[in-house]
């Protein structure tokens, strides 16, 4: 079966204008990333701020060209696709719904916009489908007449979801969709996304800082570190038995609501990585709590694990170069 998303050798770097000393720097945001995601799955993408999650999402959405590599969505190259066809296939939901909703338009018009942009849907049907989608995400007819500023943050995120789904796309790319919301509203939105996925048989790429949220929604997880996926596994395997030292540290940093356990020192040290200056060999070695001398000289390859694959020399066994 054709995967919903297939990514091959994706790279993206950015030139950044000089800092204090005025030199330009090249930031490698995504570095040779490959994966496939089967239809109906939810791939959670986690990793520290700046590791390239949003860049990956924007490339997959066709909003940003890669420096190298290619993306196939349901077997087709987005670049070669007409904008309207692309909109029917894949849609984004971003973190800040306020920034992405036109403040001067009523909610019903915002949600109708993707249908109107298709150009060939009769006005009557546009109105009906928009109204149906708004009801589906739990917004009333009265709320549909309002402007974005007259809604709460959670309601605005519902609008963004309705707008993303009104064309019945197959794939939705969610970039931190609940990070700006209260926990109570977050729960409502996560429940809504889960229901809609079952009902409409959607595929999600779900980016989040919040590992508990990812554990709740994802079927598979990719852990990014400085532009690479250093571990990928089924959600069950990854949360039960993480293999990469970075995944282990990340999971150990999660503060579960269990009183009395304190805040762990996960041994990552205090030096944060610089994406303009990626360490050689294993890029994680300067922070890795279990690094060996070879980690600074040998580049790890992806090694199969019980539920997926990880890039760590220790998994390649002792003694190998």
């Amino acid at each position: 079966m054709t995967p919903a998303i297939e990514v091959r050798g994706l790279c993206r770097s950015f030139r950044q204008r000089g800092g204090l000393l005025g030199q330009d720097r090249t930031v490698v945001a995504v570095d040779d990333v490959s994966f496939t995601l089967a239809g109906g799955g939810v791939l959670g993408v986690v990793g520290e701020s700046g590791c390239g999650k949003s860049t990956l999402a924007r490339i997959i959405l066709g909003l940003l060209p890669p420096t190298a590599g290619e993306v196939l969505v349901e077997g087709r190259r987005l670049a070669a696709m007409d904008r309207r066809a692309r909109a029917r296939l894949i849609q984004p939901v971003f973190q800040d719904p306020f920034a992405s909703l036109n403040p001067r338009r009523r909610i019903r018009d915002i949600v109708a916009m993707p249908l109107v942009a298709q150009g060939d849907i009769p006005a009557r049907q546009v109105a009906d489908r928009a109204a149906e989608m708004l009801a589906r995400v739990g917004l009333s007819a009265e709320q549909a007449e309002r402007y974005p500023a007259q809604l709460s943050g959670g309601q605005r995120q519902r609008v963004a979801i309705a707008r993303a789904l009104v064309l019945r796309p197959r794939i939705v790319i969610c970039d931190e969709p609940t990070s700006a919301l209260d926990v109570s509203v977050q729960a409502q939105i996560l429940n809504l996304l889960a229901e809609l996925r079952r009902e409409l048989n959607l595929t999600y790429l779900f980016i989040s800082h919040n590992l508990a949220v990812v554990e709740h929604v994802a079927t598979e997880v990719a852990v990014m570190y400085l532009g690479r996926i250093v571990e990928r596994a089924t959600a069950d395997a990854l949360f039960r038995a993480p293999q990469h030292p970075y995944t282990k540290a990340l999971l150990a940093s999660v503060l579960t609501p269990e009183p009395g356990l304190g805040v762990p020192d996960v041994g990552l040290g205090e030096t944060l990585p610089d994406p303009a200056n990626i360490p050689p060999a294993c890029r994680f070695h300067p922070r890795c709590p279990v690094a060996e001398p070879r980690c600074a000289t040998t580049t790890p390859h992806a090694i199969m694990t019980a539920g997926g694959a990880a890039e760590c020399l220790l998994l390649e066994g002792a003694g190998k170069p």
Binding site: G19, L20, E48, S49, G50, S152, G153, G154, D182, V183, S184, Q186, A187, Q188, L190, N191, A194, E195, H209, L211, A212, V213, E215, H216, V217, A235, F239, A249, L250, L251, S253, V254, L255, T256, P257, E258, P259, G260, L261, G262, V263, P264, D265, V266, L268, E270, T271, L272, D274
Partner: protein, 339 residues
């Protein structure tokens, strides 16, 4: 009632004999903005070396409470309280000059929005050094050394270079850490931290929370920490107050709150968060239907009643503040109803 796991704050009986006054004592705080009541009779107290967390949904009055203590409310706000004391000193009796001498020195605040306390026109180094020399005197050089040391402790690499940068040259996460370091410049006795780690990665967050715990142990720092994150609360708080629509609806030692959450709102909040390691993927998360209401003037009764599964006609009348040891709940339900 269980006590905290981390160093025992003095036991709280209704009239405890005290050698020294609490670090912070707020009773019946009310803040109104015109016809909006933002804080409606909230009480908190904080001992030296203690961490008191305040949780609750957006708009429930957490930041306004913090700003009211610091004397930094927006113009037009009205503040009233039965008591508002820092280390036994009535904050309402202080002149603006006396207050500014306290702020940044003995009591420091980390603001929810970092740019509110960073001046875009000055470098990080000059702002941090200024705080120190203003309150403590000494040379600029010594102040800059201290600033660099604190930046390193909040996990900022090349602190010397950062001192020379302007706030807009820093990412959100770096700015937040600069703010934290700046608040610690004068070794405050009281730190009010409003969502100090929300923009940070879990790994950096853990590092900063450990630093705060260390300062607390070494210097007896008292922390009033405002957060949405129940994981942080569980791990670092000695005591938790849950706010809803301007009121403290439940307050208890941390272990007691998590073991026996008693206000329906607290129970709702806890059900909303997926717990790592215990998620049931096919099950929906708990959620609290509806939204935080706007509270009109003259409102009476429980503000949660429109969203509460247990609401009864009497919830529209005066609701009792029930107390079992150090565990307080503002609800009509009998103690132990949830068990």
């Amino acid at each position: 009632m269980s006590t905290s796991d981390r160093g025992a704050p003095p036991a709280r009986s209704p009239n405890p004999p005290r050698q020294s006054p609490p670090l912070l004592e707020i009773e019946e705080l009310r803040v109104t903005f015109g016809r909006t009541a933002a804080v409606r009779g909230a009480s908190f107290s904080l001992e030296k070396g203690e961490t008191h967390c305040v949780v609750g949904e957006s708009g429930c009055g957490k930041s306004v409470t913090a700003l009211a203590v610091m004397g930094l409310l927006a113009r037009g706000a009205r503040r009233e309280a039965a008591r508002l004391e820092f280390a036994g000193q009535d904050l309402r009796a202080l002149s603006e000059r006396q207050l500014s001498a306290l702020r940044g020195d003995r009591m420091a605040m980390i603001f929810q929005e970092p740019m509110t306390s960073l001046n875009p026109a000055y470098t990080v180094g000059s702002q941090m050094a200024e705080v120190f020399t203003r309150h403590r005197g000494g040379s600029r050089r010594a102040a800059l050394d201290r600033a660099a040391d604190l930046l390193a402790r909040v996990g900022i690499t090349a602190p010397g270079m950062r001192l020379g940068q302007f706030p807009h040259q820093l990412s959100g996460g770096l700015r937040q850490r600069v703010m934290i370091a700046m608040a610690l410049m004068c070794d405050p006795e009281l730190l009010i931290a409003d969502e100090p780690t929300t923009a940070l990665d879990v790994t950096v967050q853990a590092q900063i929370l450990r630093l705060l715990a260390e300062l607390q142990r070494d210097l007896g720092l008292g922390i009033l920490l405002i957060t949405h994150d129940l994981g942080i609360v569980a791990r670092i708080a000695d005591r938790v107050s849950v706010m809803y629509a301007g009121e403290v609806v439940e307050s208890a030692p941390t272990a007691a709150l998590f073991a026996a959450p008693s206000h329906p709102y607290t129970r709702g909040l806890l059900a909303c968060v997926p717990v790592p390691g215990k998620v049931k993927r096919e099950e929906a998360l708990g959620s609290i239907p509806g939204m935080v209401p706007r509270i009109p003037p003259g409102f009476t009764g429980c503000a949660f009643r429109d969203r509460c599964d247990h609401a009864a006609p009497e919830c529209a009348g005066a609701v009792p503040r029930q107390q079992a040891g150090a565990h307080e709940v503002l609800c009509r339900l009998p103690p132990g109803w949830a068990a």
